[in-house]
Point group: D2
Chain length 352, copies 4
C-alpha cells in the first residue's frame, strides 16, 4: 500500500489542526507537506502562527514550516500534495473545500458539506459502504478530487454506540451531553464563562446531533443514502473538562434485550477498519466498563489511543428501553483521528 | 406570630449545617440555641470543630459556641430548645431523629424518614396540604413532636417545575443531572476525582430522584398520600461546580401546550409561602430566563436569594412533549433554605 | 454634599465596566447617565452589546440603555454628564481620556496616564495628598477637567500593605503573584489555557507592579511626586480563580519589628476615606486573618464588600525581614471600587 | 546487570503507590511481587482496595493481586522479595521502614528518616556520592538492609536547579510555590476547598523545603554530610492543578553571571544517571524553555517522561541576582520516579 501520500492541512493552527499534526507524526501512509491557515497566519513560521496546546511538544520540523494561505494556489506553491485534511471552521469551509475538491481528495472535519446528498458522512466502522457516493459525486460535479466528511464530534461517539443497537429495532434516542472545552476550538470558551459553571447551550450542536446520525445509519440504495428511520432529541451542555464528550443516552428499541445482550452487542462490535487492520483503527471500537462510576472523561478518553468509544452504566429504563453513558475523545475520534481513519479507509479501498 | 423559637441544629458542622447557620442569622422566627454534631466535634468550640466553607464570615457568637453531641440529653443540657433542624447524614439520621421527634418538631434534610407513610415530604409551594400527615403521625407514634422531611436536593427543583405541568397531564419525565460538589457534603468529592472531569454516578441519587417526586406530587386522601401517576427516569452526574444543580429535563404530557403556555404556567406559579409572605419565600418560586444559554449555575443560583428555581431553554420535543433546563441552589433551596421554609409554613399553620 | 453627579462610563461593556455599573447601583453621589463603548457596541442596547458576567442580575434600566461611542461628541449627545469613569483597555485609553479630560474630571482605571508626572496615581487610603497634582495638571494642560488614575489591580493591594510598613524603613520587596482570571478582562484567558494549569506570565504586569508602588508611596514635594526609596521585584502568575489576586510577599525592613508589631500596624491602619466616612470606604482597609491557611481568594475576596485587603501568614523571614500573604478583590478594590473611592475622595475635597 | 529484583510496594493503594505500579510496568530491573497497605485494604484484591486515579488503565495482573498488610511478616508471607519501595504516609513510615530495613534495602518517599544523619537523601543527578552513607548506616545499625530516602516533591525540582548554580556561589534562595493537588495524596484536598481558589498553606511543607536542599547540596566528608552554606525561605501554596509543582524562584549568587551563562549551566547539567544510562534517567535533567510563558504545569510536566525539571523565564533580578520559574512532575520525578531512579543508581553501584 502506498505510504507516501503528501498531505496539506487546512486550518492547521486551530485545535483540530494541531491534533492532525500530532496524530500524523510517524504515520505509515501520510507525510505533512503543507500547513495552511488564514491571512493572519500565512507567511509566518508555524511556531509563531500557532498557540500550541497539545500535551506533546510541537515537533521541531513542523515548528519551522512556513504557513501557506488556505487557497489552492498558495498551497500548491508551498508544496506538491496528494490529499487534503480540512480542519477549517464550518463557516469558512464551504467554498474553500469545493475549490480543493476539484483537484484533490478532501477529508473534512467541517460541517459545510456534511448533508450534501452526494457527500458521504463517514464513520469507518459504521457506514463504510457510503463511500460508494464518491464516484457518484465526482461524476456529478466533474471533479478529479472529492469531498468526504466526518460527523460532528458529539455525533461520532453516539452513532458508534447506536450502530450495534440497530438490530434490536432502534426507535427513539434522547441524549443530554456534557461536552469538553476543546470542542469549541481555541480560544473558544472564555475561562470566565466556565469556571465554577456549566453552559447549557452550544450553538447549532443540537441540530447536528439530531440530524447527522440519521444519515450515517441510513442505507445506501445505489444512488444516494436514505435516512434511518428513528428519532433523536438532544440537549447539549458545555462543562469544565479539557477533552472528552460524555453523553447520557436513553434509547427506545423495538425489542427488549437484556443488559447482558446489549453489553455483548457493544463488545462484539467490529467494523471494516478492524478487519483491514487500518493503522488508526482501535482494537475495540467500543469498550464497555463495568464499574458503577465510569466512563469518566479524564480517565477514559485515551482508551484505544483516543479512538475507542467507552460505554458504561448500561441499565434498563422504565420509560424507554435502556439507558447508558458514552464517552469519546472529541478531538481524536471526534475530529482529527476520525478524519485520518476515513482517509485510511479510502486508500485501502483504492479511492484515494 | 411567635418569633422566639429556639433552635437546635443537628449535624451543625457539615456543609448543610453551615448553611442553616448562615441562613438563620437575623431570622425573624428562629434563634440558634444549640449546635450539635458527632463525637469528634462534641465539646469543642464551633470554630474549632468546623471547617467553615461559606462565603460570608463565620458569625462571631456562633464561632464561640460549644458543640453538643447529637443526642437529646446532651442537647437539652446545652440549652432549652423549641424545634430541631436536622442536617445529619442519611445513614445516621434514622434513630436520632426518632429520638428527638418524641419531644420536638424535627425538620429533617436527611433521607431516612422521607418515604415513611406518615411522614410528610414537603416543598411548601408544591404540597403544603401534606402537612395534614403531622397529626396522624403524632397520634400513631404517640409523640409530642414530629418529623417533617425535605426532599433530596436534586428532587426539589425538579418537582417545583413539574407541579405547574400537572394540569397538562404529566405522564413521563426523563432527566439527566449535572450536580454540584456541595451536594456531596464536606470533604465530599476529592479534588483529584473532579478536576478536568465529570463523574457519571452519585450513590443512591437516581433512586431518590425517580421516587420522591411521586410522593410530593401525590394526593393526600385524608389518611395518607397516594403517589402521583407518572413515571420518572434519571441519570445523575457530578460536575466541577461549587453550588447549583443543573438538570436537563424531557417531559411527556397528555396535552400539547405551546412553549408560551408552558412559560406562562412556570411564571405564574405561586404557592402558599408566597400568599402567606413567609420570610424565606422567594417572590417567584420559578424564574424563567429567555436567553439561549441560561440558566447557568454560577450566574443564576442566587436567584431569589437561592430560593428560586430558574428555568430556561423551554422547547418543544420531537419524542416527548417538551424539554427544558432547570437549576436550583442545592444547599439553599435544596437543603437548609428548604428546611427553614418548611418550618415557617408549619408555624404559620400552627403546627409547630 | 452634592449627590447628583451624572456619570459616563467608558468601556462599559467590559469586565471592569460591568463592575462599575454594579457598584454604582444606588450610590449616594453618582447616577449613571451614559454608557460608552467601542464601534462594535455603539448604538445597541446595553443588554445586547454586553455579555454580563456579574453574579447579580443586570439592572433592568441599564439593560435598556443605548450604548454611545467613546468620544466626547457621542457621549454628550447621549446625555449631560458631570464626571467620567474610564474602564478602557490600556492601549485605547490614552488619547480618549485626554479628549474627555479637557472638559470633565476623568477617573481612569487604564494604565495610559499613570506615570505622567502631573497625573496622580491614587489609593485614597495611601496617598490622598497626591491629589494636589490636580490643580497643577489643570493649569499645565489648560484643561477644565483632569485625569486621576488608579493603580494596576495587583499593585493596589500590595501598596496598601506596604504603607503601614514604611515606618519600619521599607527597603526591598519580593513578590510572587497568583492572579485571577477576571484581571485579564473578558473574554480574556482562554479556558483551554488555564484548566489544570498555571500560566507564569502576564504581559507588562511585572513592570507595572515593580514601578507603580514607588510613585504611590512617594512624596509630593509641592510640585511633583518623588519616588519612594525602595526596590521591588515581581514574578506574576495567572491561576484558575475567578476573582481575587493572592500575593506572596517577602519584605526587607530597616528595623526588625516583631510579628505582633507588624500585625498591629496592619490592623490599625486607617486612611482619609475612613475618617471622611466615604460611602465606598471599608471600615478596615486591611484585615488580618490569624488562621494558618488564610487568606484564600474565594473565601476572603468579599471582605469589606471587596474593598478590604486581607493579610495573613505574617512570619519572620530568614533572608528578608518578614513574609506574608495578601489578597485583594481585583475588580472591586483593584478596579471599579478603587476608582469610585478615588472619585468620592475628590468630591469630598472639592476637586470634582 | 541483574534484572530480576522482586519488589514490594508499601502504601501501594495511595497516589504515590499507584504511580510506582504504573512506572514499574515493564521495568528492566524490577518486578512487582507484593503490594502492601493498611489494615483496611489488607486481604482485598488490589482493584477493590484502591481507587485508581492514573490516566493509564490499572494493569490486569495487578488488579487481581491480593494486598498484604504493611509488616515484614505479612509481606514475606505474600512473596519472596529483594527490595522495598515505601510510599507510606510520613507519620506511619518511621517504625515500619526501620523494621523492613533490618532485612531489605528500603527506598523511601516518606519524610520520616530523611534527616537522620546516616540516611542519604538522594537526587541521583545531584548527590550520588551521598550513597557512601549506606555502608556506614548498615554498620551502625547492624542491618542487612538499609534506608535510602528521596526528598519532598517540592524540594527535588528546586534542588535540581540549584545544583548547577552552586559554582556561581549560591547564597540565598526565596521561593513561592504553586503545588498540585496530587501532592496531597488521595483523597487529599477536598474539591470544595480548591474550586475557584488557592490555599496558601501546606502543612510542614515550608519547613521541608527550607531544610532538605541544604543536606542534598551538602558535602560528604567521609563520615557524614555537612550542610551546604546558603539560606532558603519558602512560601507554599496549593493551586487547582492535577500534577506538576510550579515554583517562582529568586536567587542571590556570589558572582554575577549573565542570563546566557545561567541558561547554559542549566542546559549542560548532566549527572551520573545520564552517564550510566539508567533506565529511568531523562536525557536532560533540566530542560530550558525560552517562550515567555513557560513552563506551564499541564503542558510541560511530562517532559522527559515526567523525569525532567523544566525551567523558564530566567531573568536578572534587581534585589537578588536572578529569578526564574521551575516545574517538576510531583508524583513522577518528585515521588515514584525519583525513588525508582535512586534504586537504579544503587544497583548500578552494587549497593542493592
Amino acid at each position: 500500500m502506498s505510504s507516501n501520500r503528501k498531505v496539506a492541512i487546512l486550518g492547521a493552527t486551530g485545535a483540530v489542526g494541531q491534533r492532525f499534526i500530532q496524530l500524523l507524526q510517524g504515520h505509515p501512509y501520510f507525510k505533512i507537506e503543507v500547513l495552511a491557515a488564514s491571512e493572519r497566519s500565512a507567511g509566518k513560521k508555524y511556531k509563531e502562527a500557532c498557540s500550541w496546546t497539545m500535551e506533546s511538544n510541537l515537533p521541531r520540523e513542523i515548528a519551522e514550516m512556513h504557513v501557506a494561505h488556505t487557497d489552492v494556489e498558495s498551497v500548491e506553491k508551498a508544496g506538491n500534495i496528494d490529499i487534503v485534511f480540512s480542519a477549517l471552521p464550518g463557516d469558512l469551509a464551504g467554498p474553500v473545500e469545493t475549490e480543493f475538491a476539484a483537484v484533490y481528495p478532501v477529508f473534512s472535519k467541517a460541517s459545510a458539506h456534511r448533508m450534501d446528498s452526494d457527500v458521504p458522512l463517514i464513520i469507518p466502522e459504521v457506514n463504510p459502504d457510503h463511500v460508494a457516493l464518491i464516484p457518484i459525486q465526482k461524476k456529478a460535479r466533474g471533479w478529479n478530487g472529492f469531498i468526504s466528511t466526518d460527523p460532528n464530534c458529539s455525533t461520532i461517539q453516539l452513532a458508534m454506540t447506536l450502530k450495534p443497537l440497530m438490530k434490536f429495532g432502534l426507535r427513539q434516542v434522547i441524549v443530554s451531553t456534557m461536552q469538553a472545552l476543546s470542542g469549541a476550538g481555541y480560544p473558544g470558551v472564555a475561562s470566565l464563562d466556565i469556571i465554577d459553571n456549566v453552559v447549557p447551550f452550544i450553538s447549532k450542536e443540537e441540530e447536528k446531533l439530531e440530524c447527522e446520525p440519521l444519515k450515517i445509519l441510513g442505507t445506501f440504495d445505489g444512488n444516494f443514502v436514505r435516512n434511518a428511520n428513528f428519532v433523536l432529541s438532544a440537549s447539549c451542555n458545555r462543562v469544565n473538562v479539557k477533552d472528552g464528550h460524555l453523553e447520557s443516552v436513553f434509547v427506545k428499541l423495538g425489542e427488549n434485550p437484556s443488559v447482558d445482550e446489549i453489553e455483548e452487542a457493544f463488545r462484539k462490535f467490529k467494523g471494516e477498519p478492524q478487519k483491514l487492520k487500518l493503522p488508526s483503527a482501535p482494537e475495540n471500537p467500543i469498550v464497555v466498563r463495568k464499574e458503577p462510576n465510569r466512563p469518566q472523561p479524564r480517565i477514559d478518553r485515551q482508551e484505544g489511543k483516543g479512538m475507542s468509544v467507552v460505554v458504561g452504566r448500561i441499565r434498563n429504563d422504565s420509560i424507554m428501553t435502556l439507558k447508558y453513558m458514552c464517552l469519546g475523545h472529541n478531538t481524536i475520534r471526534g475530529a482529527a483521528g476520525g478524519g485520518i481513519l476515513s482517509a485510511e479507509l479510502m486508500i485501502a479501498k483504492g479511492l484515494a
